[in-house]
């Protein structure tokens, strides 16, 4: 290369292929292009580096280097850093609440049963996905219910006040997700229906549930509702919360799905009608597959919001994941570890929400068949 002369003249078409200048390729080129392309960008980059420098080392120092990882009591937390022993000691309660030790295998079995269905669904081109979905949506909730609450098939009854921790969060979130999608689709169709009664009912339902905050729904379900029941008749607290969460999410889901329906051009309906398809065939085979695909980000948004909203159930005396973390922090022996608890909660919540978000992006890409 060095023999090549920059200023040399070459005949047309015989100019050799030179390497790009060193300052335009590789790490340096990337930095020059993206970080230091102008004066303002240079200042912003330096500021950002300074910010990261002030934040990251202390966090790493606290969370990892100075942290105490092993032990079984508060005395093992001598360091300046985080006391992960705390999470360790209370692990069982944070994960399962007060579910009896001897029965924990039932929750774990249900987790495995759920994953057995979920993992193949995520693998592209796995055969018989329809059957797996049917298993997950119809058979699995039933099996999980039997396993969790028991009182039949020789399983001991485990009452819902003993459920708690991440387990309860998953129960509420998954019930909400599984119930709200079909319900939301039906509501969305109802709202666009030509039948006045159905249309009015759907609008009333959606606008009512969208009009009240979830915390009020839960509060009413837990405080007002029992007063209208005869004394001695008790409706399970968790069931009340589950119904509230599911209906609430369904109303939001309905509006998301309706957004998708509105984006489908009229020609699609007309073409389907011209082929002689009935309303349901049109909806199931022509409209819905296109509409749902369009609103995947919106649907996942509702799921993620729902997952995070489950923490509100702590106001009605249920101990979800976050509630349990706050509860175990009231043990007099472990009072000073609120931060560890919250950090742990944040990490787990992030893990779930980010997971859902990534999967939805993957779905979008896969289903983006173009028109």
């Amino acid at each position: 290369m060095s023999s090549l002369d920059n200023n040399a003249q070459y005949p047309v078409g015989e100019h050799p292929n030179w390497e790009p200048p060193v300052s335009n390729v590789g790490v340096i080129g990337w930095m020059k292009h993206n970080l230091f392309s102008s004066r303002l960008n240079t200042i912003l980059t330096l500021l950002a580096i300074y910010l990261l420098y002030t934040v990251i080392p202390p966090v790493v120092q606290w969370a990892i280097l100075d942290a105490d990882w092993v032990g079984s009591s508060k005395a093992d937390c001598t360091g300046e850093g985080a006391c992960w022993v705390y999470i360790n000691v209370w692990w069982k309660q944070i994960m399962y609440g007060r579910y009896p030790d001897a029965e924990l295998w039932r929750v774990q079995t249900a987790y495995v049963l759920g994953l057995v269905g979920l993992i193949p669904l995520m693998i592209p081109n796995f055969p018989k996905k329809k059957w797996i979905s049917a298993y997950l949506l119809l058979l699995f909730p039933f099996m999980a219910y039997v396993l969790f609450s028991g009182d039949n098939l020789g399983l001991k009854l485990v009452e819902t006040p003993l459920w708690g921790g991440l387990f309860l969060t998953l129960v509420i979130a998954i019930t909400g997700i599984v119930a709200s999608l079909p319900l939301g689709i039906l509501l969305a169709l109802g709202r666009r229906s030509n039948m006045p009664v159905i249309k009015t009912l759907c609008i009333l339902f959606i606008e009512f549930w969208r009009g009240v905050p979830l915390i009020t729904v839960l509060f009413m379900a837990s405080v007002m509702f029992p007063l209208f029941l005869p004394q001695g008749v008790n409706f399970d607290q968790l069931l009340r919360a589950l119904i509230g969460v599911a209906l609430f999410a369904a109303a939001y889901m309905a509006e998301v799905v309706r957004g998708g329906l509105q984006a489908i051009p009229k020609g699609q309906y007309e073409a389907a009608q011209a082929l002689g398809l009935s309303y349901w065939k049109t909806t199931i085979f022509i409209i819905m597959p296109q509409a749902l695909k369009l609103v995947i980000p919106g649907i996942v948004n509702v799921f993620i919001a729902l997952f995070k909203d489950t923490t509100l159930v702590s106001i009605i005396g249920l101990f979800d994941f976050l509630g349990m973390i706050q509860l175990v922090n009231t043990n007099p022996d472990w009072l000073s570890f609120a931060i560890e608890g919250y950090v742990f909660a944040a990490v787990i919540f992030w893990f779930f929400c980010f997971g859902m978000s990534r999967y939805s992006q993957h779905l979008e890409k896969k289903l983006h068949t173009g028109h």
Partner: protein, 339 residues
Amino acid sequence: MKFFNSLAALAVLGATAVVHVASAATLDDVMKKGFIQCGVSQGLPGFSNPDEKGNWTGIDIDVCRAVAAAVFGDANQVKYTPLSAKVRFTALQSGEIDILSRNTTWTLTRDTSLGLNFAGVNYYDGQGFMVPKKLGVKSAKELDGAAVCTNLGTTTELNMSDYFAANKMKYTPVVFEKADEVVAAYDAGRCDVYTTDRSGLAAQRLKMKDPDAHTVLPETISKEPLGPVVRHGDDQWLDIVKWTLFAMVEAEEQGITSKNVDDKLKSDNPATKRLLGVEGDMGEKLGLSNKWIYNIVKQVGNYGESFDKHVGPNTPLKLTRGVNALWNKGGLMYPMPIR
């Protein structure tokens, strides 16, 4: 919060309108279902909090366990319903729980208008002030002009403003929704003083970076008698809970503990014999077995034992008996005679 308070008020109104004419005897219901449903807090150190095995423990829990011991002879026949401050009374009114043992202050309004009865006091609390030692403040009277951290919308806020107004002092309230936020703000120096109930101060102090750098001032600016609550209109059940409390204190007064209760069965002292059911029919008068106090003391302990185990000087909370000492030791714990 105002919104929820009015909602709660509405709920209570509903309760009194629908009126659950205090139906059948709670004792019969409880006997039939085989356990006591006990409303507790959502975690309050030393009063009701979970232990590492997931069981509820604390002095509020011990009240429920003692009633279970008196009724069934087995302190473990209790199920707990954790309740937030807002739903606790409704849960009792609607019959979801049999006893509310959840650090609830006995006030006239609650006793009358909510359709409830307070069965007694198991902890005399009161609002206090905590300050950093380095401020050198020795009395709450010196707090003129201070910034005070506290929780939003509780009686704590009201007591504080009353106290400062009565003493013609100025202050700046720094108010937060959650206890954790209040502690964090105080610990970060955003205010000079932290005020809440004294038992709460003891617990929150442990959350500070350096608990020893803070001190609780001697003044107590409010009365917070905390005790178990039952539904209005069931006198037998009220009696059982009330006398269970007295029995625990009386046992301490007579020096009967969970360790020596079996020896005390052989005691010649007529009062002890009566207490432990060796003689007399104290239990039958309540509709219980005559061994009821024996069962309480054997399985739960006397009042002093319960106090020491959960909040006393040997626990992290390090609360002294103070006004919660027996009446003959300068405190307010005065059991009515069991005879």
